[in-house]
Amino acid sequence: MTAPAGADALSRYTFPAADCSRIPYGMYRDPDVFELEQERIFRGPIWNYLALEAEIPDPGDYRLIAVGDTPVIVNRARDGSLHALVNRCSHRGAEVQRNLHGNTKVHTCCYHQWSFDLTGKLIGVPFQKGIKGVGGLPADFDKVCHNLQRLRVETMNGAIFGTFCDETPPLEDYLGPVFSHQVRRLFHKPVRVLGYQRQRIFGNWKLYTDNLRDPNHGGLLHMFQITFGIARLSGTGGARVDADGKHNLSWASQGGRTTHEDSAEGGYAGTDRGDMNIKLKDPSLLRYHKEFPDDLTLAVTSLFANAALQQIGNTLAVRQLRPRSADEFEIVSTFFGYEDDDEAMTRHRLRKANLAGPAGLVSMEDGEAVELVHRAIVRDMDKHSIVEFGGRGPVVDQENLISDVPMRGFWIYYCKLMGIRAGETA
């Protein structure tokens, strides 16, 4: 058996610290690493977030998504069951379904009209037997062997997850108690999709997963909340991780409002962040209607490896990360409210959506930050970035926001799946 494409790439880089407090730049830039990630991460023993059941409520409903860089159809079959199928015809490899979303009885490839039912079964091959005994496929061609490739699917409260790997543990075990709770918290009642936002970022996808696990940048890069006095890094907040450290919850609670003791004279001394006492003309954008039993006003849950569940005040969304190459990824965010929201609440959520996404007042900076890093690490690939806020060593829950410990948790698990032995010199 030959080694998978890119396997030798790992020997090019060293993680000098076992706690992943140093990350070699090459892990973000090397196309061979990207190839290997497709096999060992996205098709490895993980659950990828696929879609919401609310997006495909009726039999025949489908949507096109991607798992890693593999195009995938998520659909609901006639019996109501959910399926995830690689969107690639078993004949010539064409995309079978070309519409982004819709409702259908079968997926028919336009190239040679091979058709597949909603479980991925090959059901139709035109001219399989030729015409009058001439042409067509050989007699021993067996349709049963040429279904669409299927992912295994599990759902939790209407969130659909899929895995390519037979060894992936049950979804509940994979998420663990903390993150199963986070999924159930956000999807505690039926949701109504409000719309989509897409963002194309020209950097490596792991710079984004790093960013999600770095509460420290929130109050330094995203200055909307700071400038308009909504939050401070010294406010109540922190991070939770699971036993592996692979998932992360960055949270802040309503008590996070603080005085100005930590403003320019305090922790922000030495930055060029100026007046922090500016008022919005229309502060209604900042209003928060409590809707969860806990006090969290910000809860961004990053699930290894392709998803983030987002509660920013009353702005709710799930983000799917779609890597396109070592140098580019897309974030597709599905914003939602709940089926029982009244008109005023829906309007409130739609206005609050200004805070999130590619144009988000508290999030737009992420696109820029990722690209700044990606551009500058083009060379010196065995140099390292530093991950030491909150200390080195074991990855544990953080009771403050001045930390990027969860980032190390991601990398420790990533190394495990990739077969990288961090902390051992080559």
Binding site: H101, Y196, L280, L285, T346, R351, P358, E365
Partner: protein
């Protein structure tokens, strides 16, 4: 000639064309504070993806439902937000004007090119403006501007208005 098939005089057509010119010029000149004065106080400005509109989904990329909110957006860009340093260049196509109630609707296609300091340019966004206009005293103002972006996959980020 006193009118077009849509009942809009050439003078009116010219006036709307000039408003769109001014709109694009102020954005390109980074005169965002002046740009917001083209809107009435109870205006609505929103950028929506074609993808959402075609599915009857109400989510915007950017939504300001008053001048105050629009001013806040601009103020935040000036004071708080960090975004890619760029220059905008709006190319706005011919305007189609239709009378509606006591005002007019106007639509036009646009292309928005973004350039960086080092002089590289990319096509950042294409789409259409759908505006509702009203005369306030003697001046034509924007009551509602819906920017429908075909380029729904936003490149990098969307900071400055389209």
């Amino acid at each position: 000639m006193t009118g077009t098939p849509r009942g809009v005089s050439p003078e009116m057509h010219l006036e709307v064309t000039m408003l769109f010119e001014e709109y694009g010029r102020l954005l390109d000149a980074d005169s965002l504070e002046e740009w917001t004065t083209l809107f009435v106080p109870d205006c609505r400005y929103e950028i929506m993806s074609r993808e959402n509109i075609e599915q009857n989904l109400p989510l915007s990329l950017m939504l300001c439902d008053s001048r105050d909110m629009l001013d806040d957006r601009v103020y935040s860009l000036r004071e708080a937000n960090v975004f890619n340093i760029h220059y905008d260049c709006h190319i706005i196509g011919p305007v189609r004007v239709t009378p509606q109630g006591d005002g007019w609707t106007a639509t036009a296609a646009y292309s928005l090119f973004q350039s960086i300091q080092a002089g590289e340019t990319r096509l950042f966004s294409v789409g259409r403006y759908h505006a509702e206009l009203r005369r306030v005293d003697t001046v034509l103002r924007i009551v509602r501007m819906r920017v429908v972006v075909d380029t729904g996959a936003i490149l990098t980020l969307l900071a400055t208005p389209i």
